[in-house]
Symmetry: C2
Subunit: 279 residues, 2 copies
């Protein structure tokens, strides 16, 4: 193991991620794992441009992720144009960091490329209209995007996923000219974080609630663990966010009322219109 | 940048990933990016056990990935029991590496935990029956799984995603006791690769076909680039796989006939039965 990098020690990184009372058992550790543990979603960017070749490096990382049967049913749109970023920000609930960041990536579930292959070869690709095919494309885009995130963060850059790109997918498609059989699964800001925007590592639910051994079993103490996590995340929220919120309140706020989906309750009809039959 | 690790040079790693004729522009580089570039899916494992605490480290990496609105709608089942692995291998098209690997992970889209939260708090969570909610859960499981993959590979372990876990999802659910509102999105083998199973880095489509600048535009030379890639992947296939295959043939083989979905054409009905209404 390398010792020349200022690798965050395991105990410290795990305590930040789980809180001092829910640190998991110590396991193997290195500088790569330390990098993953320090991830923070960043919503404020300096205008500084990225070094030459950064996009190519991020995409090489992204394409190195696994892809189902090597079908590679995803694409990415690299947006740097100010007007386009402003238009996309407007469509994604006016998130100002989409305009701020020097590079905005749209991760696209793309079955159109393979569809063109079928047309050029004179073959009907029977699996295209199925939910399974859309799901594979969305998952492969996600695996690729996560590798790009890791690569970006290793370079001192920050990122944030933008799920609100699904609020108005057909309008997004117009801005970046998406053809039928493509769908912007989510966006991603890439850039250098402002000091104010680089908050603490956000605590997650304890491993005991997420991991099941050999079979799924609801922990007897699930509600108590949630209550403890509410306290932990409440403290994080008070120190890092505009309003203090427990996890329980956040989940109810985000999942309780349909209005919180900001139009995403129409996703099935939208995908039908965009060339995904979802059979 | 650290220089003490045997980091694969950028030019070498990119040439392996894209072939010598499609190497992208050189960009920033470090040992983290080199790790990502060397990913290979591995389908043969030694029986060696994992070091103590490996699962906890992989899960800490996984939970450090972004999750939509911090909803954390995913879980993971860690399977080490031989009988369970054998049963799962049988359900996933008899893939022997599922039995071989010391740790088999099932990455689960899990809306049941937040559903329990709603019940305990006496609140109806209106977004639960929507496709958007399933999609968020599946994507969040994918982001988590990719971080776990990177962490595992940084420790000298290998992995392979098992999409065939979706061939018979309700049977998988029985093996690991999945409740309503959970769905095994994919499996993942984790272990030490046998020498024979650790093949070359698999080449991908050239970046020009995957990346679009400012807007989607089908490259004029898309068909020629596919033809060049067919040659590249054909060589890889001849050296590393049982039968030589071009990408064009592979796509048609995998997407041409419904039978290739191995039952996944029934995914909508299956998800309905498993507690995902997909409205």
């Amino acid at each position: 193991m390398d010792v020349s990098l200022p690798t965050t020690p395991a105990a410290e990184a795990l305590a930040l991620r789980y809180g001092p009372d829910a640190v998991p058992a110590a396991g193997p550790w290195n500088e790569h794992i330390a990098l993953l543990l320090t991830h923070r979603s960043v919503r404020g960017y300096r205008p500084d441009a990225l070094p030459a070749g950064t996009l190519e490096t991020l995409i090489a990382a992204a394409q190195s992720a696994a892809t189902s049967s090597n079908l590679q049913t995803w694409s990415v749109i690299a947006v740097t144009d100010s007007d386009k970023k402003a238009a996309l920000a407007k469509l994604a609930n006016n998130q100002k960091h989409i305009e701020q960041c020097p590079l905005f990536l749209i991760w696209v579930a793309d079955i159109s490329r393979n569809q063109r292959l079928g047309q050029q070869e004179g073959v009907t690709l029977e699996v295209m209209p199925y939910l399974e095919t859309f799901l594979v494309a969305a998952i492969d885009a996600a695996l690729a995007a996560q590798n790009a995130t890791v690569a970006a963060e290793s370079l001192g850059l920050s990122c944030v996923y933008i799920g609100a790109l699904r609020n108005q997918p057909q309008e997004v498609a117009k801005v970046v000219n998406l053809p039928s059989g493509t769908f912007g699964v989510f966006g991603m800001c890439v850039g250098y974080a402002t000091e104010a925007a680089l908050g603490e590592v956000k605590p997650r639910l304890p491993q005991e609630v997420i991991v099941h051994h050999e079979a799924y079993r609801v922990p007897d103490d699930e509600a108590q663990r949630r209550s403890a996590y509410d306290g932990l995340i409440g403290g994080f929220s008070a120190r890092n966010e505009m309003a203090t919120d427990t996890w329980t309140k956040r989940v109810i706020g985000r999942m309780g009322k349909l209005a919180a989906l900001s139009g995403r309750d129409k996703l099935v009809a939208t995908l039908h219109a965009m060339g995904f039959e979802l059979k």
